[in-house]
């Protein structure tokens, strides 16, 4: 393993498999226990440095670090010296001077975690940077798929929606490909990035055509906060062509699962009855996120730091 986890490409197949296996062992070790805590990172400090709003990722990282007995500092840009104009670099150096061993960073600027990694001594974990990557989300998605389907090699994953703005899609494309899955992207042409032709994926504009062969359907959130131009005519039209409703779900194979990284726009990209169906792994993904992040923190911080 490298010292930082900045993007899915930091993980080769062996590393990615090690993270998933470690998460599985942690899950097994903690299952049914009264004391859901391990002493592994006692005396280590993890800082959650969040420049963007987040519910599940921040809480998930906080819980993961606490279950490994690390001390956790939550820092959100709101209400801090950032509003007085302190730069990312000075903020990070300040935190490190106080003794942080790892920084989990979320930032609206793509590449911010990479810059950070050059400035600090400790490990940096990317918890989502702009429209670039969100590697731990991809790891928990891969973990969820492996748990449900028993394998990743040769699994056909269809990623549907706003690929252009989605760091989840980017991280998943690279990680799932590394792990041997076949990824198909489905989106309106306006919501696909320019360089998609060079990605190791198949591209389709027709959701109904790809659903019958899919093992996994991963719905992406329509990111209204990043919709600065008219990428599609109306929400209704988007929903009709690219939303997953009960009728479309019926076209899926018997064992196929439906995933969503959250937060969902119910009724937009995913119908409420689909989100709550037995195929849906949405709640499971959240639970798996804690185990996977524990595995990442253990592997980055457990040994020589």
């Amino acid at each position: 393993m490298k010292r930082h986890l900045l993007e899915s490409a930091d993980l080769d197949r062996a590393d990615a498999t090690l993270v998933l296996d470690t998460a599985a062992q942690i899950d097994q070790a903690l299952a049914g226990r009264e004391v859901k805590k391990l002493p592994t990172l006692r005396g280590r400090t993890v800082v959650n440095l969040f420049y963007e709003d987040s519910t599940r990722t921040r809480i998930s990282f906080e819980l993961a670090a606490k279950r490994l007995s690390a001390d956790v500092i939550n820092f959100s840009a709101k209400g801090s010296s950032v509003s007085k104009g302190e730069s990312l670099k000075d903020t990070a150096l300040t935190l490190e001077a106080m003794g942080s061993d790892a920084i989990v960073v979320r930032h609206s600027a793509s590449g911010a975690p990479h810059r950070l990694a050059h400035w600090v001594q400790g490990s940096v974990v990317n918890a989502g940077d702009g429209t670039h990557e969100h590697p731990t989300q991809a790891l928990l998605d891969a973990y969820t798929i492996r748990r449900r389907l028993g394998r990743l090699d040769g699994v056909r994953v269809v990623v549907v929606g706003d690929v252009l703005h989605s760091r989840v899609a980017r991280s998943n494309v690279w990680l799932l490909t590394t792990l041997g899955a076949e990824v198909t992207l489905v989106a309106p042409p306006t919501l696909l990035p320019v360089g998609v032709g060079s990605w190791p994926v198949t591209v389709s504009y027709d959701l109904d055509a790809v659903l019958p062969k899919a093992d996994v359907v991963m719905m992406l959130r329509v990111q209204l906060e990043r919709m600065t131009a008219s990428f599609f005519p109306s929400a209704r039209e988007y929903s009709r062509r690219y939303g997953l409703d009960a009728v479309r779900m019926a076209a899926l194979g018997d064992d196929a699962i439906v995933m969503h990284p959250g937060p969902m726009n119910r009724g937009m990209e995913i119908a409420a009855d689909v989100a709550d169906s037995v195929r849906s792994t949405i709640v499971e993904q959240v639970g798996n996120g804690v185990s996977v992040r524990m595995a990442v923190l253990y592997l980055l911080l457990g040994g020589n730091a």
Binding site: D21, A29, T40, L68, G302, G303, N304, A305
Partner: protein, 191 residues
Amino acid sequence: MASSTEPAPGQAAPAALLAPADVARVVDRMAHQLIEKAGDALADLVLVGIPTRGAPLARRLAARVEAFSGARVDTGTVDITLYRDDLRLRGVRALEDTVLPPAGIDGRLVVLVDDVLFSGRSVRAALDALRDLGRPRAVQLAVLVDRGHRELPIRADYVGKNVPTSRAQTVRVHLTETDGTDEVLVTEGAA
């Protein structure tokens, strides 16, 4: 870490301390001792192996106890990696299985099983792990080989073989389940 100062003369074949038949005999004897010492508590007995080689050893011991006493014996494994005190010295490593019997370990007689007892640090880590997993009535320790050099106040209740060693030596246990053969080797020089 201790290292051997004398050169290995022509890499002499390591002395086999226990051959396959010896290992089987030692395990049988430990099973008899377990039965005798547990007495009425035999029904509550859980043999918990410390991976890697403690795990198959615990299953073997359980099988022998069952064969000699007729009582069913639960087994489990407890991975101690996340409880080790030398992670920072030796780096992270892959985790192994932690599996407890469905009935759990609360109020039962837990016997930890490991292949070699050396510094005692693995056993300490296992005791910490057990504390998070439940509250056994009592915890005992069974090891195939006790090679001395304890660094903590820990001793075994059941010992297959006491082996006086120097710190510079390495004791290696091989089991069919993990290594294809049963034997205990003592070699000069640190592992």
